[in-house]
Structure formats: structure tokens, C-alpha cells
């Protein structure tokens, strides 16, 4: 049985509001399924109490649900232990945690960090700041714009005895292509260097198995995959997390405090200072339950089919430049420009036509700079999108082109 986008879309109340919006900005955030929305509402209506604090029934129940959500995420990404799952505000927060705590513990002046120029700023700027703070060098793996690949040979030459961590995205938020994480992790581990994977854009489009990947850290956000905003995780191998000092301090993460000294709680609580976003974590658990009911092979297969359809339709337009090599496999995002039309102008007209796409540098200015553009238009797909949505985008782009060319 093929994937039925309409049946799937029916789970998302956003689309039943009759807004007549063609929503193609899923790499920014996805719409929310009714099960997630209901779970949040039900929790607040029935069980709300602060977690890990009370001996009263509600607090115990809320804690149970919160920890249950942690276990669901753990199993979803196949982590060995639930104490390797740290709840964060999202991907950015998770990367900042590592860029502070790991660097604090393991790096000294003269060491280096390796990343790529195709990162989202969230996986670039925290390392840049860490490098400034601790006098480290930030090294960047060259990206070949002719074939859209990272230069692995050059990468191997960048690694030396002072390389302390490699931080790399699994899927580019602009180009929608995957990076060779297996090769990078394998090589890094042969030198005992840990690797952080930014899975914000991969998590919604491919199965993530952290044990199989053997990644040391993985960051991701719930809201990119139908879950609530403001919640995500850092997965970290226990051996690293246990050795790292706390990131933020306050409630819950404390074991004992005296006037002179504080000892910290065990994992994962050591890294969860203050009241955690337990309600959204619990709702995210409901999102995971929902996703687990879907046939992921069908779902991801359909996404690939949609991307290919979009590429085929868009590339037939004579006035388009697409930033993609069709032979590569793509995950969600498709970036392009229209000849002689600024992306902001294009998006303004597309907005009038009720087509939601993203324009600008997509928080990936180093990539924009090597692509030689100030920004792109990005359409990004989810399994509730249809070929009809893509046809509307194509018609919209024709209107944009005609509008600005009549005006030349």
C-alpha cells in the first residue's frame, strides 16, 4: 500500500482550518499532529505538577510521565541508556551545552575543533565562541561546490593530536544533502576523537540509531518532526557526559549544597538545571508514539518521491537555478533562485499567493558565502505535502517570474 499523504494530513488540525496555505517551510518547523496537541492539553488539564520534587500523587505522576517520555526518545534513537538523554530547549541549546561543558573539561589552549562550512549557525557559532574563550583553533573541512561534497581527504589532514572534537551536521538545512558521517566518525574514533552530530534536519527524514552511528553526541529538536517547540535533546555517551562539568546550575541538578561546596546530581539530571519543560517533553512522547505507528519506510520513501517530483518540476522552469545535484539523495530541503529576482521579492509575491517558503541565508552564512549568493529560496517538504502542493509552488514561481519581468 503506498503512502497516503491525505490520510496522514488528516491528523494535523492546521490543515483543516481552511487557511488555503501551501505550507512548504517544514525544515523551519513542522505542523503538529492532533495526538501531540491533545497530549499537551490533557496533561495540563489533569496531571500538572512539578516533576522530581513532591511526594504527592500529582508530582509522582508527572515525574513518571516525564521519565516515560525520556524512555520513548531513548528507544526512538536507540540509545543504550536513558541517562544518556538530556532534555534541552532544542538543538541549539544541546550544542551549546557540549561547546561549554565538553570544551571546559577536555580542551586547553592550542587545541582545535573541526567543523564544516555547511553548518547551521547553531553548530558553528558556539564552537567559534568556545575557540575564542579557550584559545582554540576552529578548522573547517573544505566543501566542494562542484559536486556538493565534503573533502574527506582534506578532513583527514586537518585532524592532528590536538583535535579534540568534530562537530558536523548530518543533513544540510539549505541543500538537504547528507554528510558522510560514517566515514567521519570512523576516522575520528581511530584517533579517539569524539564526534557531535547535529541531527536537527536528519531526524525528521531518516532513522537515527545512535549506537549504529556510534556518535558521541547527537542534538535534535522535537518541533522539526511534529513535536512541540522548546524541547529537544542532547544524546551523549555516558562516558563523556559523566566526565563533563555542569553547564547551568540551579534546582534539580544539585545533590548536596553546603556553604563551601556543591555536589551534583547524577546523569541526566546534572545537565537539567531548573524546572524542565516537562509538559512539552510529555507531549513529545505522544508525538513519538504517533510516528511509531507510521510505516517509516513508506514515509521516508514518499518524502524522497516528493523531492524528486519537485526537482523534476522546478528544473523544467527555464529561469531557475537549483542548488542540487539530482543524483544525490535529498532529505527535505530544496534551495533555488530565480534569474534576476531577489529571493525576498520572490517570497513577497509567493506570500500573496499563500505559498509559505523560506528565503534568506537560512542561518548558514558560511555556506551562502561559498555558494556565492546572499540567500536562496528554500522549499522543504513533509509527508503531509502532496504533489499538488508542488504544482502550486511551480505555478507560483511562474507568476513571480512574469510579475517581475513585466516590470523590467
Amino acid at each position: 500500500m503506498p503512502w497516503d499523504p491525505i490520510l496522514f494530513r488528516n491528523h494535523f488540525p492546521f490543515f483543516s482550518n481552511d487557511l488555503d496555505i501551501t505550507y512548504l517551510d517544514n525544515a523551519a518547523t513542522t505542523q503538529k499532529n492532533i495526538e501531540t496537541i491533545n497530549s499537551l492539553s490533557f496533561f495540563y488539564s489533569h496531571f500538572n505538577a512539578n516533576v522530581h520534587r513532591g511526594a504527592h500523587y500529582l508530582s509522582i505522576k508527572a515525574t513518571e510521565l516525564f521519565e516515560d517520555a525520556r524512555n520513548k526518545i531513548q528507544h526512538f534513537i536507540n540509545a543504550k541508556n536513558s541517562n544518556e538523554i538530556i532534555f534541552t530547549k532544542g538543538t541549539t541549546d544541546a550544542i551549546n551545552l557540549v561547546a561549554f561543558s565538553y570544551i571546559e573539561q577536555f580542551c586547553k589552549s592550542g587545541d582545535n575543533i573541526i567543523t564544516t562550512p555547511i553548518e547551521h549557525h547553531s553548530n558553528f557559532v558556539p564552537w567559534q565562541l568556545a575557540a575564542k574563550r579557550k584559545d582554540l583553533e576552529l578548522r573547517v573541512i573544505p566543501f566542494n561546490t562542484n559536486n556538493y561534497t565534503l573533502d574527506l581527504e582534506a578532513f583527514k589532514k586537518l585532524v592532528d593530536n590536538n583535535t579534540k572534537i568534530i562537530a558536523i551536521t548530518q543533513v544540510s538545512n539549505v541543500l538537504g544533502i547528507a554528510t558522510p558521517v560514517n566515514e567521519i566518525i570512523q576516522f575520528a574514533h581511530s584517533k579517539n576523537i569524539p564526534v557531535l552530530l547535529d541531527a536537527a534536519q536528519s531526524f525528521p527524514h531518516m532513522p537515527i540509531d545512535v549506537q549504529q552511528l556510534d556518535a558521541d553526541f547527537v542534538s535534535l529538536s522535537a518541533h522539526k518532526f511534529y513535536g512541540p517547540t522548546g524541547i529537544g535533546i542532547l544524546f551523549g555517551k555516558e562516558k563523556w557526559l559523566a566526565a563533563m562539568p555542569p553547564y547551568q546550575s540551579g534546582g534539580e541538578m544539585i545533590d548536596q549544597v553546603s556553604i563551601d561546596h556543591t555536589t551534583f546530581n547524577e546523569l541526566p539530571f546534572k545537565f537539567e538545571a531548573g524546572t524542565p519543560n516537562y509538559a512539552d517533553a510529555i507531549a513529545w512522547g505522544a508525538t513519538i508514539d504517533f510516528i511509531n505507528q507510521c510505516d517509516k519506510n513508506l514515509m521516508f520513501g514518499y518524502e524522497e518521491e516528493l523531492w524528486n517530483y519537485a526537482y523534476q518540476k522546478l528544473s523544467s522552469l527555464p529561469f531557475i537555478k537549483i542548488f542540487a545535484i539530482p543524483e544525490q539523495k535529498h532529505y527535505g530541503a530544496l534551495s533555488f533562485l530565480l534569474d534576476g529576482i531577489h529571493p525576498y521579492d520572490a517570497a513577497t509575491v509567493l506570500d500573496e499567493l499563500k505559498i509559505a517558503v523560506r528565503v534568506g541565508h537560512h542561518c548558514a552564512q558560511p555556506l551562502m558565502s561559498i555558494l556565492g549568493v546572499s540567500g536562496t529560496i528554500r522549499a522543504s517538504f513533509a509527508p503531509y505535502n502532496t504533489k499538488d502542493d508542488i504544482d502550486k509552488l511551480v505555478e507560483g514561481l511562474k507568476t513571480v517570474y512574469k510579475f517581475f519581468n513585466k516590470n523590467k
Binding site: H342, P343, Y344, D345, A347, T348, V349, E352, V359, G360, H361, S374, G375, F403, F404, N407
Partner: protein, 144 residues
């Protein structure tokens, strides 16, 4: 009613004939094309007003207590919006500019382009023009 408000009224009338978005954007595009060019020497980071999605360059000077600005932009719709801003403020007294709040964009249905989330640089352009006007006012007072 001061001169800025009078000009705002005219712009309002110019737009009021049309309710179709295409026509409104056509006016903007015309205004962008008719905008007096900015000398390329001012298209440097010093004069850049950066939005996340589009960029503007702004040069301002005062003559006899009045402000004169020139601007350019990479996106034509943003540039057209900037042209309206310049049409309103150019040659006007500094204190009138400081006081004016650009509600004309509400009235011509283009207010959404000024929202902070648009990040096209227009809000910053207006803020920067007002800052220039305030700075020149201060300078003139201390020169007196």
C-alpha cells in the same frame, strides 16, 4: 498638518485606487526604479542596513536643518518601500522626522513589511533615519 503628513496623504491616495496586491507592488516597483541612485562609494558596510532577508544602504546628510537621504536596496520591493520613506523625509525639518511614526504603511496595506519578523531592514532603515535626525538636532543645538 506638516509637509510629511501632507506627502503621506498623497501616497495614501495614490495607493487607494488599487486593492489588488499586484497593483500595489507595481507602484512600489515603479518607486524603486525612480529612486535617485546612491553613489556606489556609499554601498559599503559602513552604510549597510542589514536585514536577514534583504539589504539596504543608507546615506544621510543635513542642509540647513533639513534631512536629505539616499538609499539603495538589493530587493526591489524593499527598495520601493525605502523610496516611500525617503519621499516622506527628504528635505523635511529634523524635528518633524523625529516625531513622525510612519503610520502611512498601515494605511496603504504594506505594514507587514515593517514587522520585525520580516527582517528586511526597513524597520532599521526608519530607525536609522530618525537617529540621524536626532543626532543632527543635537549637533545643531550645541553649535548654536
Amino acid at each position: 498638518m506638516n509637509n510629511i503628513e501632507l506627502k503621506a496623504k498623497q501616497i495614501e491616495e495614490e495607493f487607494s485606487i488599487f486593492d489588488d496586491w499586484m497593483d500595489r507592488y507595481n507602484i512600489l516597483i515603479d518607486k524603486a526604479k525612480n529612486l535617485e541612485p546612491l553613489d556606489p562609494k556609499y554601498k559599503t558596510p559602513q552604510y549597510l542596513i542589514s536585514g536577514c532577508q534583504s539589504q539596504l544602504w543608507l546615506f544621510c546628510e543635513q542642509k540647513n536643518g533639513r534631512l536629505f537621504c539616499k538609499a539603495d536596496g538589493d530587493a526591489i520591493i524593499t527598495k520601493g518601500m525605502a523610496a516611500i520613506v525617503l519621499e516622506l523625509v527628504n528635505g523635511e525639518p529634523l524635528d518633524d522626522i523625529v516625531k513622525y511614526n510612519f503610520e502611512v504603511f498601515d494605511k496603504i496595506g504594506l505594514h507587514s513589511h515593517l514587522s520585525p519578523t520580516r527582517s528586511n531592514g526597513l524597520r532599521s532603515l526608519i530607525k536609522q533615519i530618525k537617529l540621524y535626525a536626532e543626532a543632527y538636532l543635537l549637533k545643531n543645538k550645541s553649535d548654536d
